[in-house]
């Protein structure tokens, strides 16, 4: 029984705690940028979550109630699937899947579906625009992500994260494939609807996909979003920072520290960079990021053969 229960608990509690941490980090960075650090961050963040939990739900005149209910939960499920295939140490991998890298790709694609549904379901103009906007971005960054992750799979000769981490014993991929991490962070911003890629719930749409959502449903969406960022940070840490590898500390500690690093990066980027125009991002993704990811793959390939 423990074989099943322990991984489940680890994954879910990491997602929950991580989502809360993302909120705390975000408020801390926002306070610093605004020039007035927030006091009592932790309790303020919990109070915010609790307030959403206690406030009533709102709905629209004729929404697709089922999809609206399912979308936030599915977002969380996808985050859980993504985190589940990331190893915590040589022995402890919640789910040892030989095609973990591909599963993460599928998570990215399905996340776009889920975000679209969140925008579609309320049958209201602003959420609808947000959902469609996100699809433009989601369909553009997905290719970049595939190339970058194939780049890290090359030296590992495997599609499992175990092997990807193992291949970084000597040198982390962040050094070995210098283009990889910056490109992959763009994907993280997209899949977590964050910062410059915050298209779905953008401020100019009064919250876009979330403009009609209140109370616990809103809490669930925020949780899914935070959890997705956490899952992304775990994948990025494993693909570029050697995952659980590291001296002195036990493996899981290293993984958590590296995840924290990625999350801080994402949060700071998210607070400092303006949201791009969707059209510009599509152009940028196909004409700059995609060729760069070609270069990244070529570099990884040459290095794997002759490095």
């Amino acid at each position: 029984m423990n074989e099943v229960l322990l991984p489940t608990l680890v994954v879910l509690s990491t997602l929950l705690a991580g989502a809360a941490l993302v909120a705390v980090l975000d408020q801390a960075v926002a306070g610093m940028i605004a020039g007035r650090p927030v006091r009592g961050l932790l309790s303020a963040t919990f109070a915010r979550g609790m307030l959403l939990w206690l406030r009533p739900d709102s709905t629209t005149e004729h929404p697709d109630a089922l999809l609206w209910r399912l979308a936030p939960a599915a977002y969380l499920v996808l985050a859980a699937l993504g985190l589940a295939v990331v190893p915590w140490s040589a022995d402890f991998v919640p789910v040892r899947l030989p095609t973990g890298v591909v599963l993460w790709g599928a998570v990215e694609a399905l996340a776009t579906v889920v975000i679209f549904l969140e925008g579609w379901a309320p049958n209201a103009p602003l959420p609808l625009l947000g959902g469609y906007r996100h699809v433009a971005a989601g369909l553009s960054y997905i290719l970049v992500s595939m190339f970058v992750l194939i780049g890290v799979a090359l030296p590992a000769e495997s599609l499992s994260f175990d092997a990807v981490i193992d291949s970084q014993q000597d040198l982390w991929n962040v050094v070995r494939q210098p283009l990889g991490l910056p490109l992959f962070l763009v994907v993280g911003l997209g899949i977590g609807v964050w910062g410059p890629l915050r298209f779905a719930d953008a401020a100019d749409l009064a919250g876009g996909t979330t403009a009609e959502t209140s109370g616990p449903r809103r809490l669930a969406w925020a949780l899914g979003r935070g959890a997705m960022l956490v899952a992304f940070s775990a994948v990025a840490a494993s693909a570029f920072f050697g995952g659980w590898l590291g001296p002195w500390l036990p493996g899981p500690m290293w993984l958590l520290l590296k995840m924290l690093l990625v999350l801080v990066l994402l949060v700071v980027i998210g607070r400092l960079l303006a949201r791009m125009a969707p059209e510009r991002f599509v152009g940028l993704a196909w004409l700059l990021l995609l060729p760069l990811s070609f270069v990244d793959l070529l570099w990884a390939g040459l290095l794997a053969l002759y490095g």
Partner: protein, 427 residues
């Protein structure tokens, strides 16, 4: 018991407030964004308290009732220098600005702890059109696209401005309390995809008061220091609005804070690199919202200078001449002059210029010399000023814009009329 413990925990966080901003209240509400423990939210769905600031004209009464109804119940409403709905028995009223934050917190606490006092719905509980039991299927619809399924018609096909592919367009009105628009502005929009096809201005933005130094300068010479600091504050606040739209609300608050605490001698050197680095200018495409020369000279002020026109009431003033004043004009070169970016860049340049002028003016104690006309923060101010009609400008600029561009166009133009005492008397 458990619930009260949870609500006690929840009450320790910030208060989500949705502000419905009435005439001449924009700056006072902006100031609330700097209050600790208050959060001005973008949609009433998130708010527990509605703040109605200012006397909302009767034309916006139904709109206010709509927003009021959209706050999830239980909720509270605070009326600041406003006229509460007559149906409310015990409206919470506040007249002193310094009492607002406390009153909002108190209302929030009441909402959380004794939720039984429901704010009533002040609109009839009926669907937009009767539909039950009507039509082929009893839901109001007829045939494939006809009827009023669930109380509203379906969107219908319309021509498209861009690729000629005629798909559906949706029509709606936006405002007067939409947070991305200046208070009071009501737009009737037709949108196909995310591209605005048609725009009609149903109501212009509420007039906003001009800072006191500008009004004094109409009547007598005033120190240029005061004028230029007020101008820099105005531009900082407008840039903060633009940052909010781009999702950089924290940076926006930093600008608001800088505006609130702006004193002589500050140069705000961090401002330009921070804004350039944030990609705010790059986030709207080049060449959007370009004003024609006629439009630019009609609007005047920094918008005209951003379009490459050298229009500035300060030019003929001896006080300014003493300081070696030259208006900043965006060059008509490689960058598209007169577009959204040019106007934002102009504000940025003019903040620099104003701070420099203020410092210089303080050194030699310079005063304005001309009276009757002054270069206000939005454009030329005069005692005999007719209220400009900015409606036609939006109606020509917005069609063809994507949604984010459309809102950026609005955030880059001085749309609100200057509420000078004379204009108010006329209104």
């Amino acid at each position: 018991m458990a619930v009260s413990w949870l609500s006690a925990l929840a009450a320790r966080g910030s208060v989500p407030v949705y502000p419905a901003v009435g005439p001449a209240m924009a700056d006072q509400v902006r100031r609330l964004a700097l209050e600790p423990d208050l959060e001005l939210v973008s949609t009433p769905r998130l708010a527990s308290v509605l703040l109605v600031a200012g006397v909302v004209p009767s034309s916006a009464d139904v709109a206010l009732r709509r927003v009021h109804a959209q706050l999830p119940r239980p909720c509270g409403t605070l009326w600041y220098r406003s006229r509460p709905f007559p149906e409310l028995d015990h409206p919470q009223v506040v007249d002193a600005p310094e009492l607002i934050p406390g009153a909002l917190r108190e209302l929030h606490r009441v909402v959380l702890h004794s939720p039984r006092d429901q704010e009533p719905m002040l609109l009839p509980d009926a669907p937009p059109a009767p539909f039950e039991g009507r039509g082929d299927h009893g839901q109001g619809g007829e045939g494939m696209m006809g009827g009023m399924p669930y109380g509203r018609p379906m969107a219908m096909t319309a021509d498209d401005l861009r690729d000629g592919l005629a798909l559906d367009a949706i029509d709606f009105t936006l405002g007067p309390f939409f947070r991305g628009l200046p208070p009071g502005l009501v737009l009737e929009l037709r949108v196909q995809g995310d591209v605005v096809q048609q725009c009609t201005v149903q109501a212009p933005p509420y007039a906003e008061p001009v800072a006191a130094p500008f009004l004094q300068a109409l009547e007598r010479p005033v120190p240029i220091v005061a004028l230029e600091l007020a101008r820099a504050r105005h531009h900082l606040r407008r840039l903060a609005d633009a940052l909010d739209l781009a999702g950089l609300d924290a940076l926006g608050r930093r600008l608001l804070r800088a505006a609130a605490g702006l004193v002589l001698g500050q140069r705000l050197r961090w401002l330009r690199p921070m804004l350039k680095g944030s990609g705010l200018l790059a986030s709207v495409g080049a060449g959007r919202g370009v004003l024609s020369d006629t439009q630019a000279s009609e609007i005047g002020g920094s918008a005209a200078r951003a379009a490459g026109l050298s229009i500035d009431a300060r030019m003929g003033d001896r006080g300014y001449a003493q300081l070696g004043f030259e208006p900043i004009v965006q060059p008509r070169g490689k960058e598209v002059a007169g577009d959204i970016r040019a106007r934002w860049r102009q504000w940025l340049d003019e903040i620099d210029q104003s701070l420099r002028l203020a410092a210089h003016a303080a050194d030699i104690d310079a005063h304005t010399a001309k009276i009757g006309v002054v270069e206000g923060p939005g454009g030329r101010l005069a005692t005999d000023q007719p209220l400009p009609d900015t409606g036609p400008v939006l109606e020509t600029l917005l069609p063809g814009c994507e949604w984010n561009q459309a809102l950026a166009v609005i955030a880059s133009l001085p749309l609100a009329a200057a509420a000078t005492p004379g204009a108010e008397a006329g209104a």
